[in-house]
């Protein structure tokens, strides 16, 4: 018997995101299509966010005498939100690995941590909006604020939707166990979750850091 090389060649990726590999091979074909389809949808979502960012930039001068970015934004709160989202991306990655190696208990634990971080992010974001409202920064105040409130809360809405989906998946897992639809769901939610973190990079760089500089 010939000895196997220690470093295995990388298996060919079948779809974006973490590939579950040989242990889950019997259901891989349908998953491949569904995950790729979800990735196509994600890219169309990227176009929406990109265009809302372009709209935001064209509206930077349109404050109409109302409060601007320097009066409304708070760097510390933005840093907290950024960290929460980044850590939640990493914990979702750990959940994906637990799924791949069929460690159900750790999978549920990491998913719950991810969910808690998502809720914490939403809490800080809503608190920020509340402070902005108190300072007179309401969407109807100026074109600039309308552009802000069509871009940033849309991302928040995505995070809220992803959290609801995560709760639904946990419920599905409790009822049906770790079957093929649940696995495919977790893989797609993982793509959404990591994607929302990428969109947040654009938001904190352009809107918050750009606005406060």
């Amino acid at each position: 018997m010939s000895q196997r090389p220690l470093a295995l060649p990388r298996p060919q990726a079948r779809h974006p995101g973490l590939n579950l590999g040989a242990d889950h091979a019997h259901e891989a074909d349908s998953r491949e299509e569904m995950v790729f389809g979800f990735w196509v949808f994600m890219m169309s979502d990227l176009i929406i966010f990109g265009l809302l960012m372009a709209t935001y930039v064209t509206m930077l001068g349109g404050t109409a005498g109302g409060p601007g970015p320097k009066a409304l934004f708070e760097l510390k709160s933005v840093l907290i939100q950024t960290m929460l989202l980044l850590v939640s991306s990493a914990t979702f990655g750990m959940a994906s690995i637990a799924l791949k190696y069929q460690e159900k208990r750790r999978l549920v634990m990491w998913l719950l941590i991810t969910l808690a971080l998502g809720f914490a992010f939403l809490f800080f974001e809503l608190r920020d909006f509340h402070t902005m409202f108190e300072k007179g920064g309401v969407p109807s105040r100026s074109g600039y604020l309308s552009a802000f409130f069509s871009l940033v809360p849309l991302h928040g809405l995505h995070v809220a939707g992803a959290s609801v989906w995560l709760v639904a998946l946990l419920g599905q897992m409790a009822v049906h166990g770790l079957d093929a639809p649940v696995k495919t769901g977790i893989l797609r939610l993982g793509i959404l979750w990591h994607f929302l973190d990428i969109v947040w990079i654009g938001i904190f760089s352009l809107v918050y850091l750009g606005g406060l500089s």
């Binding site: 295995l8 060649p9 990388r10 298996p11 060919q12 990726a13 079948r14 779809h15 974006p16 995101g17 973490l18 590939n19 040989a22 242990d23 091979a25 491949e32 790729f36 990735w39 196509v40 890219m43 990227l46 176009i47 990109g50 265009l51 960012m53 372009a54 709209t55 930039v57 064209t58 930077l60 001068g61 349109g62 760097l75 840093l79 950024t82 960290m83 980044l86 850590v87 991306s89 990493a90 990655g93 750990m94 690995i97 791949k100 190696y101 793509i191 990591h194 994607f195 973190d197 990428i198 990079i201 654009g202 904190f204 760089s205 352009l206 850091l209 750009g210 406060l212 500089s213």
Partner: protein, 119 residues
């Protein structure tokens, strides 16, 4: 690796693979953390020129996007069954045309007709 790719690995190989994958996520997290903290720290603690600051923020954001794609979404230059990378590159092309066009046209308009709208 057999041709069908369904061959089961030994326990040692599984553990090795798992450790490698966890390390990959942690590398991604560490790099993303550094690339986030650089622009935040520059804005909060230094008084660099505005243009330098903007360029740093933009560069860090772009590199961080690539880090996320590579370490969290596993988009690599390796051979893939589906054209994930081409899909991203095509979407980025569309985005550059749409966003670049929007900014070009509207700021040209502002300059000629609405100078108050220039930020």
């Amino acid at each position: 690796m057999s041709a069908s790719g369904v061959e089961q690995d030994s326990a040692a190989q599984r553990a090795q693979k798992k450790a490698r994958e966890q390390r990959s996520y942690l590398w991604g997290f560490g790099l993303a953390l550094v690339l986030t903290l650089i622009p935040f720290a520059m804005l909060a603690f230094t008084a660099v020129e505005r243009m330098t600051l903007w360029l740093t923020i933009g560069a860090c954001a772009l590199i961080q996007v690539v880090v996320h794609l590579r370490f969290f979404l596993h988009i690599t230059l390796d051979r893939s069954k589906r054209e994930d990378l081409l899909l991203i590159l095509f979407t980025v092309l569309i985005l550059i045309i749409l966003c670049g066009g929007t900014l070009w046209i509207l700021f040209d308009l502002y300059q000629r007709m609405l100078p108050d709208m220039m930020p």
